[in-house]
Structures are given as C-alpha cells and as structure tokens.
Symmetry: C2
Subunit: 441 residues, 2 copies
C-alpha cells in the first residue's frame, strides 16, 4: 500500500509562494498535483507543472535550469507524469517540496539569473490547462451502493439493487475520445427517446441532461495482457486522482441501455479536472474501506486484503455546485447541490483495478478509471440530479427562484473536491466545470 | 456513397505476381488491402504494405524508390493507412493496380537495379503482421437481429428481443487495449461466475469460453466533438474493414452484465484480422440494406437515406472454423462451424456510424467499430457457440469424435471472410485466428 506520511506532509511547512499558505487554497506545498498546460506567454508548446497556491511551477523550465535532477538521474529525463515510475514520483515530490519550501532560494536565484528566459513560476490564470495525460481507455465503475440503489429505483422500481452488486465491482467501458478538460463547453446532445405511452421513439435534443459527481483514478504503470494485478499490488499502478463529471442524458439512457448498458447517453462528453492529485498527497487521508452492513457478503478472496480493508478508502469531500444563467446575471454565487465523500464508495480503487485486470485485461499508462457517481446515505449527498429530483419528479429550488429538474442551456456545473482534517493541510482538487450550450443536429 | 466500380475491378486484370491470379486467393489485384508488418529480414522497423497473392508489396520501399508518387504529391508523404484521405486511398489504389498489373515492369526494373537494397516484394510468410492502426476507441454493435434474438433467448427466455432493438442500433464501448492481431495466443480468462442454485459466486477460469464472428470497420477521417455525421456522409469516414473475433466468457457475462452491460466477459481479448480491406475493393459487393419484415418500423429519419437503403449492405460471406488439439494431432482440417453473411445485419455500418456520432460523440482515425456477432436466419449461420449449442445444452460433434459446448484449451478458432460473384474476382479478408491456452491467475 503506497502513501507513507513523511515530512512533506508536515502541516507546518510553508512555501515562499505566499498564496500556497492561505488556509483555503487547494494547492498548498503539501499537495503538488501535476498538470499539463499551455502558457499564454509561450502558446506553441505544452508544459508540465505542479500547482502551488495560485501559481504553477513549470517543470520544463525547472528541468532546463537543472533544478530538478538533484542526485536522481531518472528525474533529469522527466517530461510528463506518465514518464515517472511510482518511486520516481515519490522522489520528485521530495525535490519539489524542498524547492518550494520557505527559505529555499534556488528557484528565486534562477529567476534573477541571466540564463532565465522564461519564468518557471506562472500564474494559473495565465495558462490554459490541457488533458493531463493521453487517455487510452476509460472505464467507469458504479461503486456507490447508495447511487446504485437510488438510480436502480428509477429504472427498476421493484428491483433497484441487482443480486451481483455486493459481489462484483460493476463497471463498463466509457468513451475515451470525448473526455474534455474542465471549462470546455458542453453541447446538449440529441438522441432517441421514447416517452411512456408513446408508440414510437423520436429523435431530438435531450430533455433530461444530468451530471454525475465522480472521482477518477489515472493508471501509471500498466500490466501485461493476461497477467492479473493482485489486490496487494493494485496501488502500485495508481498515478493519481482527479474529479470526473460523467454527463448523462437520462432520457436517452432509459431507452437505449438494455441490454448492453449506457452508450450515447454518456459518450457525448465527460469532463475532468486538470490537476492529478498524487497518492502521496492523499496519504494522510486514507481511511478504512466502506464498512459493509451486517449480512452483506465479504469480498471474494481476490478482492480482499487486510491492508485494503484497513486503509483502502479515501476521505475526500466531493461537492457539486450549480450556476445558472439567471444566477450569473444577478451575480449570485454557485449553489451547493450536494456534498458527498469518496469514503462512502462500496468498492475501493484497489478493488476496482484488481477486478478490472482479473480476467487478464491489460490497463496502461493514462487509462482513466472512474468511481461512478459518488452518493452517500443522506439526501444531501446524492451525486446527480436523477437522484436529487427523483427522476425529475421533484424539482429543486434555486436561490434566485428558479427551479430545475434537469440541466438547462446556460447552466454551469462545478465539481469540487478536497480533503481536510485537524492534523493536516487541506488538499484540494481544484474545479471541474462545464457550461451547457445548445447542441448541433 | 463511396465505391464506384472502375477498371481496377475488372476481373480480367492479372498481376505479374502469379499467386495473385489463382482463383482461390483472397488477395487478387482487385483487392489490395493494407497492413502493417515487421519484415523478418528487417526486424527493427515496421512497414506498411498491401497484400497481393501470397506476397506483400512493401509501400515503404516503393516510396523510397519513387514508385508511388506519380502525379500526386499527397502520395509521396504516404506513411500508413491513416495518413490517407478517402480520395488519396482511391488514387493510391489506381497507382498500385497499375504497378502490379501484368506487363508493368516498373517494380521489376527497380528490383534489378543497384539502388534496390531491400526487395519491395516479400512473401507474407516472411513478415509478422501487426495491428494495422493504432486503435483509439473500440465500439461493438449488436447489429444482427438473428443474433440478438438467439442470444436474448438465453439471457431472457420470455423477452429475447427488447423493444428498442428495431429502432436503435444497439452498441457498447469495448476495450481497445486488449485488441490483438490474428495469431496471438488467447489466455483463458478467470472471473466471477454464479451457477443457478448456488448461493454465492466463485472466482475461477471460465467454463464457457466462446467466440463471436464479427465484421469490423476502421474509421478514417473523424468528426469534431459536437458535430454529428449525417447518414449521407457516413461512408466518407470509412477507412476499411476487417474480421473481428469478440471472445466472450458466457458465464462471466451472465453474472456481471446487469445493469451496465458486458465488461470483463469480453475485455480480456479481441482478435482482428491484419489486412484492411478497403471500401473500394468491396464496391462490387454492395447490396441493399437488410429488408425489414412487414410490420417492422422504418429507421428514423437520421438513420435513413435512399442510397443507404439501396446499397448500404455488404455481401460478405463469413465463416468460422474450429481446429482442436485432437484434430491437429490427427491432421484433420479445420471444421466449419458456421457460415453467415454480413448482408444479414439489420443495421448498416453507415447507420451504426451515424448513430454513434448522433449525440456529438467524436470518432477518430483508427477507431474500430464492429458489427456484433453476424448470425443469419438458419441454424447453419449462427455466429457463436452460445447460439449453436443453445447455451451449452446441445453439444456439437466434431469429425474426430470430439464434442464441444464451449471452447477448450488447445482449440483454435479461425474466422474467414470473402466476397464472390460471377462477374467479379473473389475479394478475401485472410484469416483471423486465435488458439486458446490456459490463463494465469
């Protein structure tokens, strides 16, 4: 199990970048998530960097300046998150933590030197974030028992939770090509829908556009086809985590999903947050796997390890906000639709990955594995509108008097995620945003 | 609608490569399918070529020799199938047809010249075929009404064909990473299964390993996310076709597939044939789309064009052979398990592609779109063992006295596909082979 707590997690550590020391920042020196961006002052190349307060540290420029290599030759070849082994990532975290720590002068000296042609520190406001890795395959699980029960009730009122759910980490292949980075406009999709009582389906823009609040995990090191990944080694394959909005057209889904599962109801777009939060940054927020109710089966042996049971979970608060066009015009703040926590997932990411490879399926660097909608036991922690509005039957009221069952054009959905505790600095994911616009047909 | 018949289809055309003139070859001069291979005499590079008889024409070497460019500068930049626009591919076909035609001396002259360091003609026996393109996303449809009915009966005896089937080209996202080229050994997958009457599932090697006989289509030019592809333009996006074996573990499938569809029961491996047969080569074998029964709905407007109705289908005979270890030892020929035809698909590839992009989903160069199992109306045309053996209840007898319900270790499955008619030369796909071995756990 990765993620020892060491001096890089010390909450007393401060950075010479002042914004990183503010208690509300997602990106203190204890976080150091990776991202890929285009600098507005250098728009023809892409750079890799880490977020620190409201700045990004440009690792390409640091590398050019000889600031990264230290004693470790592997880091001198560093070009992006996928080039790093898990151990390289741990080592790089140490190097970056030291470079950015209050009192360290190395970067500042370089910035003042004549050889510095491009500042390695740039405001996040002055970069355009890109997909952090090239995503090969995308898999979406269904790991929240609460979500599966709530959503199952809409599609199968008599039979919400199927008999396999507590045995099998249910998942399906998603569409990798349509994954977009936070901020990319979302076109309302069209498709076939058939209302109850209608004789035939019709084709047109969805009338039931929804979001799904999810946590995503990027694979680092892959496995060879035919060689499963044991639960004991699953976390060695984790590159890091991000927020995922699995946009869903519920009316398309209802009509298309039998017998092969969701397809066009999901494949038009999936939005991810741009910063990869590492397993190391999350080490202080490991918690036991979800406590199964009395009477629930224990996981089969291939999905069970004591370490996974004891700390396979992640204590990450996940929130959804809605900002409508009407609210934007009146400068009303985004409205909190729900707040859940990744610790409520019935299956851990180690279990999802081990299950995924248990048939010999090969996962590879940059594959994205998402949790499925993260919902909790309470009404306040339902991770999509389908659950919150009970299938569109109970509209929600917004602060400016508007109501919603599903999303309208001009609505923006904002996901946020963060970890916090008394003993450690807050570790955040930044935002995952998407604004709905009308689609083309 | 692509695919005019021109002089390159003339059945009287002969090649100076004699094996291309044999009536049984899959690769006459009228075919010219693309592939990527490693030459055993040049093992450190990959080459692109076309099959001609029992030889491959190495296009890299032809390009170096200046044989391809002709009057068309775009062809001089030719590096692989995905670099070609549809029109480039048409032009290249003309160039290659001329170069390989009986009486043309250009290649032969080059082979005899001192500047020829590597023979542009190489026996297919002396190359190792590789995946012909880098496959981004893989989508598997369910386009055979007969298959959907037969298989639906196994999973849902009372309700084999769901109400959406005749309206929606049903499909799902497959796993791209585990697609392998013909000849790659297939490891028997493990997974969760639960027999009827058992209280709990167990984990172990599948006891119901099956193949699925499918036709695949590679996307050439993609579409922009948010911009659907009209049925009228769908075929402009077709790069070409191959055979697909969608290996399936039926016991895993039965237990896992609700509610999100097949996942690990399919993702351990999918085998494809190595040669991309172009739409141009198939032009003489276009047929009307499947004739819907009286009472069946007509396709919705976005899935209908007169051209697609009149010639959206493909007359391709598709066969499955089985060769067991016992048969191999006694030198018995592979046994024909079934023979079907792609013209029996309820949905055309144009309809599948248009449906796929109808929600704005972006498809891109190298995406693979497979038909789903191709079955016909008769017992002899059932495209998987699940259908042939009626869910494993009626074993088949093999010529050496063996019986099979599902595949055993040592079994090899061989798919073949070809077009033939009185007026045109046979156009074949070569083979798609996979030999089952025990898996690792």
């Amino acid at each position: 199990m990765t993620g020892q707590i060491d001096e890089t997690h010390d909450p007393r550590l401060r950075s010479w970048i002042e914004s990183a020391n503010e208690p509300t920042t997602d990106f203190p020196i204890q976080n150091l998530p990776f991202g890929i961006f285009r600098r507005l002052d250098q728009p023809h190349t892409t750079h890799v960097g880490v977020a620190i307060g409201d700045k990004a540290l440009d690792l390409h420029e640091c590398h050019k300046a000889g600031l990264l290599s230290g004693d470790d030759p592997t880091l001198s070849a560093y070009l992006g998150p996928l080039d790093l082994s898990r151990q390289d990532a741990v080592n790089l975290r140490q190097v970056l933590s030291r470079l950015l720590r209050d009192g360290n002068e190395e970067i500042q000296k370089y910035r003042r030197s004549p050889s510095c042609s491009l500042d390695p520190i740039i405001a996040i406001a002055n970069v355009e974030m890109l997909l952090p890795v090239s995503i090969g395959d995308y898999t979406d699980f269904y790991a929240s028992l609460f979500h599966a029960t709530n959503i199952g009730r809409r599609f199968r009122p008599d039979n919400p939770l199927l008999p396999n759910y507590k045995w099998v980490p249910i998942g399906y292949h998603g569409r990798a090509s349509s994954i977009v980075i936070s901020g990319t406009p979302i076109n309302r999709p069209s498709g076939q829908t058939k209302d109850d009582g209608e004789a035939s389906p019709r084709f047109g823009a969805t009338r039931a556009l929804d979001y799904e609040l999810e946590l995503g995990m990027f694979v680092g090191e892959g496995n060879e086809q035919g060689a499963p990944i044991s639960i004991e080694h699953a976390e060695d394959h984790v590159l890091g985590y991000c927020l995922v909005n699995d946009w869903s057209a519920r009316d398309l889904q209802k009509w298309e999903y039998q017998p092969l599962g969701p397809f066009l109801s999901k494949s038009f777009a999936t939005t991810i947050s741009p910063w990869i939060v590492t397993p190391e940054a999350l080490a202080p927020f490991r918690v036991p796997a979800f406590a199964r109710a009395a009477g629930d089966p224990q996981p089969l042996a291939y999905l069970y390890s004591e370490a996974n049971r004891a700390r396979g979970g992640l204590d990450i608060t996940l929130e959804v906000f809605l900002l409508t066009e009407g609210m934007r015009q009146r400068k009303i703040s985004p409205y909190l639709l729900s707040q859940g926590n990744a610790r409520d997932l019935y299956w851990t990411f180690a279990q999802m990955l081990t299950h995924h490879a248990s048939n010999g399926c090969n996962v590879g660097p940059g594959d994205l594995i998402a949790s499925g909608t993260v919902s909790g036991a309470t009404a306040e922690s339902r991770g999509c509108l389908m659950e919150i509005t009970e299938g569109g039957t109970r509209p929600i009221s917004l602060p400016n008097g508007e109501a919603r069952t599903f999303l309208q054009d001009g609505d923006e959905v904002i996901l946020r995620g963060y970890c916090q505790s008394e003993n450690f600095r807050r570790i955040g994911f930044g935002e995952c945003r998407g604004l709905i616009g009308p689609g083309r047909t």
